[in-house]
Structure formats: structure tokens, C-alpha cells
Amino acid sequence: MEHFDLSMIWAVIIAFAVIMYVLMDGFDLGVGILFPFAPDEDARDVMMNSVAPIWDGNETWLVLGGVGLLAAFPLVYTVLLPALYIGVFLMLAGLIFRGVAFEFRFKAKSSRYLWNWAFAGGSILASFTQGVVVGSYIQGYHTEGLVYAGGPFDWFTPFTVVTGLGLLAGYALLGCTWLIMKSEGYIQEWAHNLAPWLLGAVLLVFVVISIWTPSVDPAAYERWFGDVRWIWIFPLLAAFSAIQIFRTVYKRKQVQPFLFTMLMFAATYFSLLWTRWPYVIPPNFTLWDAASAPESQLFLLLGILFVIPFILVYTAWAYWVFRGKVRVGEGYHH
């Protein structure tokens, strides 16, 4: 076992699960955020149909990340969840309402408007709280010994509200460019017109957070302006992606805006990881501090390595089956 750094393998697995979750649940949450602003009820049908076959598969990554943390990095699980107590509840409530709305909106007629609200409200609540979690991660957590020792609302500060709004805009952008790819006609036109505004909002938040972060987390400045220069490739990649999104949306491209939005998210994610690496509970604990016993990490690793390929194949298959445009009047409303 000395030949492998099991903690590092697990860090890669969980980091992978998180980015998979952000990219995949991100666009279907984004569709929910945009729901109240859709041009009409037909457009809402198309929007929901475009994500209906795949959304719950997307959420498997969240649950996998959650229990994976308990098994591989219990300290992260037992510090972050108490620290984010109220936020976790709000996020779960949002995800539950949204999930149930997905199931029942298609079956409903007279109560459909209720499910519309549940879907939009749940998506907005879940997205915002996830963004707040990202902000709280940059802020760090007050611990004493091995337990969280801060207050119930330490996660809710002006800084985290900004990151919350940032992720809200980011998910909305993912959802918007997803719709550009999956829709046509007036719905696609609406999405094309909306995308630059959302991107503008995302960039504004990026700039604010980048300026603000060093005062929230002094170590971040040293990290970015220290010896390791190649790391700047990630922010540059994000900036490049942003320009490409503007350009391809302007040219009314179908697929590229979504791909570049995903690239922008991935580049931002790696920048964020670098800002705190190798601390998994900033500012005190690294991933090795937080690790469970090697025999426990190994015991689960065997099962995870077995099941992940199946999940990936199944996911790819689901996307393949439901490829192409979603049209008004199609799908499973009658």
C-alpha cells in the first residue's frame, strides 16, 4: 500500500465527481433558473423535455461525492456539513422540490403552474446555496481540534452571497447555451439573445471575486504570484473561453457556446482548486489530514473503480439516445 497514495487517488475521484456534477447538474439547474423567464408555456415544455431524460443521472454524482467524502475524507464531511448546516438543508429542499416537479409536471394539467414554481424555485435555491458553499470554501472554516467551532451563519456573508449569485449566473449561462444547442426557432433565438447578458453577469462576478479573494484569504495572493507560473494557464483558458462564447453566440453557432461554457467552468474549477490546494478544509487541514484509514479507502476503492465505468457508459448512452433537437409538441406531454 506504500506504493500508492490512496488519499491522492481518492482526491482525484472526488474532484472528478464534483466537476462532473457541476457541469452536468449545472446545465439542468440552469434550465430551471431560466424557467420563469421563458417566452411561453411551449418553450417551458421544450426546456424541461431537453433535460428530463438525464437530470437524475446527473445528480448521482452529488450523492457519490457525498458518501465518497464520508468514506475517504471523513473530516471534510464532519466539518463542512455542520458548518453549512442550514445551507445544506436549503439545498436539499431545493433539489427535492425540483426533482418531484420534474416527475409530476408532465402528469399534471390544472396544477401545472404549481409545479412550474416548484421547479424554478427549487433550482434557484439549490444553485444559489451551492455557490454560497464555494464562497465559504474560499473563506475557510473556523475549527477547534477536529470539530467545527464557528457559528450557524458563518457561511452566509457578503462575500459568499456574491459567489452564490455568481454560480446562479454561471448555471443560468450553462442552461442557456445548452438550450441554444438543443432548441430551434424562437426558443433558440431567445436563448441566443440572453446568453451575452448572462456571460456579462458571470464575468462581473469573476472580477469582483478575484479582487476580493486576497482580502478574504491572504494565502491566495502568494499562491498566485509565487513560483508556479504555469498555473496562469487556467485563468487564461477561462478568459479565452469567455471570448469564444461571445463570438460564437454572436455568430449564432449551435454547439460551440455550450462547449466553451463548459471549458470556462472547468478552467475556473481548477483555478479554485489551486487557490486552496492541498487544503480540503481551509485553512487548517490538508487532504492527508482529513483522510480515513488506508484499509477503508482501499476497501471502497475496489467497488468505486468497478462501478464508475458503468455509470459513464450508461450516462453516455442516455445522452446518445436523446441527442438532437427537442421540438415543440414532442416529448411526453400530449
Binding site: L64, V67, L70, T78, Y85, I86, S296, V307, G331
Partner: protein, 468 residues
């Protein structure tokens, strides 16, 4: 009033886990029933088996979806409210709970889709295989959950170093002393739940004269199943009780309402256990039968609750009454099983209105019995979270305040009530829609190209019930 985060967290966990448990208890039994129907349909050419299978698969889809939604919260409860416990026990419960999730995903990725949507697209043999794998998968999920829970009652295969459990033997930890009994007891409970719900719904259809042939067959199957399982459950429950008597004698003392260590103790039918008095009021019991059941001799010695300090005793009256409720439900089930056998003479079991009405009401009894049983075993473990090692107050999240806990407790109650009402309302729609005799394959074919492969899409029923 001072809000106690510990008490509120216990309420919250009990609420969330009880609420969640309702669904898997039913789906585990139902999955096996569907697999059995598929096998019959595969073996014989009688179309009624397939009609029944199609109908019950729809019900399965709705209940499974509600189980998944309510289960997501469970994955976070351990961290939010029981962080000290989670940190101490993570080396064991982390992998076991993860394996449960991994099993569930694997099942969903591999076989659930085929079961729900593949009826007309894969060969019947493959479809039968998928149905069997879903049934096996639900049991494997139960395996991991019950292994984790049993370890809390009879911790084994681990050692405590600096306040953290380390696994020394996975085999001993997973197959800990109470696990085989708890798993068998729970698996039979699930099958009984499935059988009673199917029997109750079939009885309802028979009373309304709907699809008489198919529902008579389903009812007959369920009654045979209940006739075999209900008495078996009594025997298994007794063995489980003896196992508990060996490893957690004080839980059994609370179940029996036995305060003083004595020989030839009675079996109490009713009493009002009083913690202040450290004794019972209004005892009604059968002399010496308690000793006989537990030690298999009329004057065997049975330890009483006064052996331990008051603060180490479980809340006796909860355990005492929950146990009696469970046993009463079990006896009621055995009663119905025997009545069903008696009514077989002359084929009256499906034409006797009072019996069918009775069965309708019996569909709720397995749920009551299961929840009461869990109250017995979990409250009976108190004040220990990990038996005789970690107390509840040492497992709770230190930073948690009463206000926070109250907020989420009320929140989860509201959220669950909302989705539960919607789900139940929809489920009744599915039941009202009923079994359809015409070949569903044709209508199934028309819209399946665009239909999302998710549980609820397996039904065609509208959310709002319509007058027909």
C-alpha cells in the same frame, strides 16, 4: 424554554429515517413479487401474469422514485447532525454506506431501465433477468444498510484508537453478531409488506368486480405467501429476540418491562412502566412465561433494568409499548393468514366481503409493525449510539444549536409532507386506473422513442384524478 439540539436531532433522524423506510420496505418485497410474476409469465402462456406484472411495475416505479428522493437526505444527516459519531465511525460506516449507494446506482444504470421500459424491446428472458437483478439489488442495498445498523447494536471487527474506530476484520464487522437475525427479520418483513399491500389492493379490486380473474390469482398467491411467512416471522423474531437477550439484555428488559432481576418472571401483557418508581403500575401478566420464552426454563433468571444506573436505561415505556404494537400486528397477520386458509374451502376467500374489507385495512399493518419494530430496536439501544461505547450526546454535532435543529426538523417535516401527499395522491390515481387487459405493447410503442427513461415515465396516469 431551552431547545435541546440532541433531542431535536434524534427526533429529526427518527422522522427522516422512518419516513424513508416506508418506501424500501415495500419495494424490496414488491420487486421480488414482480420477478416472480415475470417468471410465471415466462413459463406459462397465461397473459394475466403479464397484466399483473405490468400493473405492479407501475406502482413499483412511483414508490421507488419516492424512496430515492427521500433517501438523498439520509446521505447528509450523518454529517449535519451526528458529526462526532460520523468522524469516529467513518472507517466502517463510510465504506458500507457508500457500497449501498454504489449498489443502487449500478442497479439503476443496469437493470431498472430494462425492467421499466424494456418489456417490448428485449427478449422475455432478458426482461426476466432484469427483474430478478432489480429484486436482488434491493436486497443487496438492504444488506449494506442493515450491516451498518447492526454494527451499532453489536459492534465487532473494529478497535477504538484515540476515539476513532479502525476496522480490524471486515468480515467480522459486516457479519456482526446481530446482523444475520436483523437481516432475516427485515427481509421477511419486506416480503410480508409486499404481500399484504398486493393482497389489500387485489381485495379492493375484487370488491369492485374489476379484473376478477387476475386479482383472484394475485390474492391467492399473496395468501399462500402470508400463510408461510407470517408464522415464520414469529419464529425468526423470537430468535432475533434471543440474540438481543444475549448481546443487549437491557433492551430485552425494557421490551418486557422487567425492572428486577428475578427467576420465573412473568410475561407481561400490559403494564405502565414508570421510570421514577423504577417499577410498573397495573401489571397484567402470565406467570413464569417470560422466563420460559427467554431462558427456556420455567424458573430461569432474567436480568432487570435496576442492574444498571437510571441514566443508562433506555426509555422503557416507548420500547415496552412499541414491542407490544409490533407483536399485536404480527398476531393479526397470522390470524388473517389462517382465516384465508379456512376460506379456501369452497373457494370463498375471494368472494367473502368481510374478509376482503379486512384485507384492505390490513395493508397498513406491516408498515406499523416495521416502524414499531425499529422503534423497539433503536430506542432500546439508547442511551448508546454505538452499544456500550459511544453515547448519543457524544455523537451529536458540537456546533449544533437548538434553534438550528428545530428549523431543519420543521423544514424536513414540511418538505416530506408536501412530497408525500403528492406521491400518495398520484399513487391512488395509478391504483384507480387499475389493470388493463388490452395489450399495452401497442400504445407503449408509440411514444417510447421520446420518453425519458426515468421511473415515473413508466406510468401513463395523469396527476389529477379524472372522473371516468
Amino acid at each position: 424554554m431551552e431547545l435541546d439540539p440532541l433531542l431535536l436531532s434524534r427526533f429529526q433522524f427518527a422522522f427522516v429515517v422512518s419516513f424513508h423506510a416506508i418506501f424500501p420496505v415495500f419495494t424490496i418485497g414488491l420487486a421480488s413479487f414482480i420477478a416472480f410474476l415475470q417468471a410465471l409469465s415466462f413459463k406459462t402462456s397465461n397473459p394475466q401474469w403479464e397484466q399483473l406484472s405490468i400493473f405492479w411495475t407501475q406502482v413499483f416505479a412511483v414508490v421507488f422514485a419516492m424512496g430515492v428522493v427521500s433517501g438523498i437526505v439520509m446521505a447528509f444527516q450523518f454529517g449535519t447532525n451526528w458529526s462526532n459519531f460520523s468522524y469516529a465511525a467513518a472507517n466502517f460506516i463510510g465504506p458500507t454506506l457508500s457500497y449501498e449507494v454504489v449498489t443502487a446506482f449500478f442497479l439503476e444504470a443496469g437493470f431498472l431501465g430494462v425492467l421499466l421500459f424494456g418489456r417490448s424491446r428485449v427478449p422475455p428472458g432478458v426482461h426476466l433477468f432484469a427483474a430478478c437483478m432489480v429484486a436482488v439489488g434491493t436486497l443487496i442495498s438492504a444488506f449494506w444498510i442493515l450491516a451498518t445498523n447492526s454494527w451499532l447494536h453489536t459492534p465487532a471487527g473494529t478497535e477504538l484508537r484515540d476515539g476513532v474506530f479502525f476496522v480490524t476484520s471486515w468480515r467480522e464487522a459486516i457479519f456482526n453478531p446481530s446482523f444475520p437475525y436483523r437481516f432475516t427479520h427485515m427481509a421477511i418483513a419486506s416480503f410480508l409488506t409486499g404481500a399484504f399491500v398486493v393482497a389489500g389492493v387485489s381485495a379492493w379490486y375484487l370488491l369492485k368486480d374489476r379484473n376478477v380473474e387476475a386479482n383472484r390469482k394475485a390474492l391467492s398467491m399473496c395468501l399462500w405467501m402470508i400463510l408461510f411467512l407470517a408464522p415464520t416471522q414469529a419464529v425468526v423474531g423470537d430468535l432475533h429476540g434471543l440474540n438481543t437477550f444475549k448481546h443487549q439484555p437491557m433492551k430485552v428488559a425494557a421490551m418486557e418491562g422487567n425492572w428486577d432481576t428475578d427467576v420465573g418472571v412473568p410475561l407481561l401483557l400490559f403494564a405502565l412502566p414508570d421510570r421514577e418508581l423504577q417499577a410498573n403500575r397495573f401489571e397484567i401478566g402470565i406467570p413464569r412465561l417470560g422466563s420460559m420464552l427467554l431462558t427456556h426454563t420455567w424458573d430461569g433468571e432474567v436480568p432487570g433494568l435496576r442492574e444498571i444506573d437510571v441514566e443508562d436505561q433506555p426509555p422503557v415505556w416507548i420500547v415496552f409499548f412499541a414491542f407490544r404494537i409490533m407483536v399485536a400486528m404480527g398476531l393479526l397477520m397470522i390470524g388473517f393468514a389462517l382465516t384465508g386458509l379456512w376460506l379456501r374451502r369452497g373457494g370463498r376467500y375471494w368472494r367473502t366481503p368481510w374478509f376482503l374489507h379486512g384485507l384492505r385495512f390490513m395493508s397498513i399493518t406491516p408498515f406499523i409493525a416495521v416502524l414499531a419494530g425499529w422503534v423497539v430496536t433503536e430506542v432500546g439501544r439508547a442511551p448508546w449510539l454505538v452499544y456500550e461505547i459511544l453515547r448519543h450526546e457524544d455523537g451529536v454535532t458540537p456546533s449544533l444549536t437548538g434553534g438550528m435543529a428545530l428549523f431543519t426538523l420543521i423544514g424536513y417535516v414540511l418538505v416530506y409532507l408536501a412530497i408525500f401527499s403528492a406521491g400518495l395522491y398520484y399513487l391512488f390515481g395509478v391504483l384507480q386506473n387499475g389493470i388493463h387487459v388490452q395489450d399495452e405493447r401497442l400504445s407503449d410503442h408509440a411514444d417510447q422513442a421520446e420518453r425519458p427513461k426515468r421511473p415515473l415515465s413508466a406510468t401513463h396516469v395523469r396527476f389529477e384524478h379524472e372522473e371516468t
